[in-house]
């Protein structure tokens, strides 16, 4: 009997464990920090918004992440291949130690910070970050 219960519970948990996705928890966190009504629509709009840079060129998230978010992107300057943003895209480890997207909060925040600064010249607000995650999470 005990074994059956253990088996049932592990079967129930296995899809959750396999996907270990930090997005829902992060959205809760942003709510607690003052964000509200996160919208995929707003996230999409900002994702595609082009920002004029000092050198006259334009930059948006699409510049490096590929217009098709289920496909890998390419860094505009360095040429580094960037893993697809869509959680549905199959995970391919480029190097040893690579982990799927959205598996650690720290890493998501690290890249929010860097990429918001690189693209918009400032850090993103919790509202904006929540909107982005709403947009990305179901792709």
């Amino acid at each position: 009997m005990k074994k059956t219960i253990i088996l049932a519970v592990s079967l129930l948990l296995s899809p959750v464990l396999a996907q270990a996705n930090v997005i829902p928890g992060m959205l809760e966190g942003y709510k607690a920090e003052g964000g509200s009504n996160f919208s995929a629509e707003a996230g999409k709009k900002m994702w595609n918004k082009e920002i004029a840079q000092e050198d006259g060129s334009k930059r948006s998230c699409v510049t490096c992440h590929n217009a098709d978010l289920t496909k890998p992107g390419k860094h505009q300057r360095t040429g580094k291949v960037i893993a697809p943003m869509a959680p549905s895209a199959p995970f391919v480890a480029a190097e040893e130690g690579d982990e799927p997207r959205y598996s650690t909060e720290k890493k998501v925040e690290k890249w929010f910070k860097r990429n918001c600064k690189w693209t918009y010249g400032r850090e993103c607000t919790v509202q904006e970050k929540g909107d982005f995650l709403m947009y990305l999470k179901d792709l």
Binding site: R77, K80, G97, K113, R114, N115, K117, W118
Partner: protein, 183 residues
């Protein structure tokens, strides 16, 4: 009695391990000190090869790891969490070229001694390293799709993770071993 025996046996084995470690390391003082730090690999290695600290002197790492410098890290935003930034800076400074007993680190330090006022941030600008790469052509690096840039050390230096840069470990993709090309 049993305990004494156990202790003696344990000592014997640890002595052997120590000796092995000592001799392998003795051998390895030739290159630069290898680095195996998860935080460093994760924080810096996500974008570029996690260069050994022994490739630049202390003052270079101190400057590079300033929060204000990381904001514009060769044109990229490379912000780190404050605790991580400090930890990585300390790791790099503690293992910098001018604190190292490794042969190539010493050569790097000596080659920089002629310009004491310069704080070099680019490993590729270190005179010793520049000199070592002077015979490379664009076709080997820049125009080579499997190398692309001098910043990708590990594309040709196949034993770099062990801190080894010897000629017989240099294999240029699409061209072959450097020792064969050179002649």
């Amino acid at each position: 009695m049993n305990k004494v025996l156990l202790f003696a046996v344990a000592m014997m084995f640890s002595g052997q391990a120590f000796a092995e470690d000592f001799f392998t390391n003795l051998f390895r003082f030739k290159g630069v000190k290898p680095m195996n730090n998860d935080l460093y690999n994760e924080s810096c290695g996500e974008c570029h090869y996690a260069y050994q600290a022994g490739l630049l002197p202390k003052k270079s790492w101190e400057k590079m790891m300033l929060a204000s410098e990381l904001e514009d890290h060769f044109g990229e935003v490379a912000d780190l969490e404050e605790a991580d930034r400090i930890a990585i800076r300390d790791l790099l400074v503690a293992n910098a070229a001018d604190t190292s007993i490794y042969k190539r680190s010493n050569k790097i330090t000596r080659s920089l001694a002629k310009t004491p006022d310069v704080v070099e941030l680019r490993i590729t600008n270190v005179p010793y390293i520049k000199r070592k790469h002077k015979d490379l052509k664009d076709k080997h690096v820049k125009l080579n799709p499997k190398v692309k840039s001098m910043i990708n050390c590990n594309k040709c230096h196949r034993e770099i993770d062990k801190g080894i840069f010897d000629d017989d470990t240099i294999l240029i993709p699409n061209f072959g071993y450097w020792s064969d090309i050179e002649d």
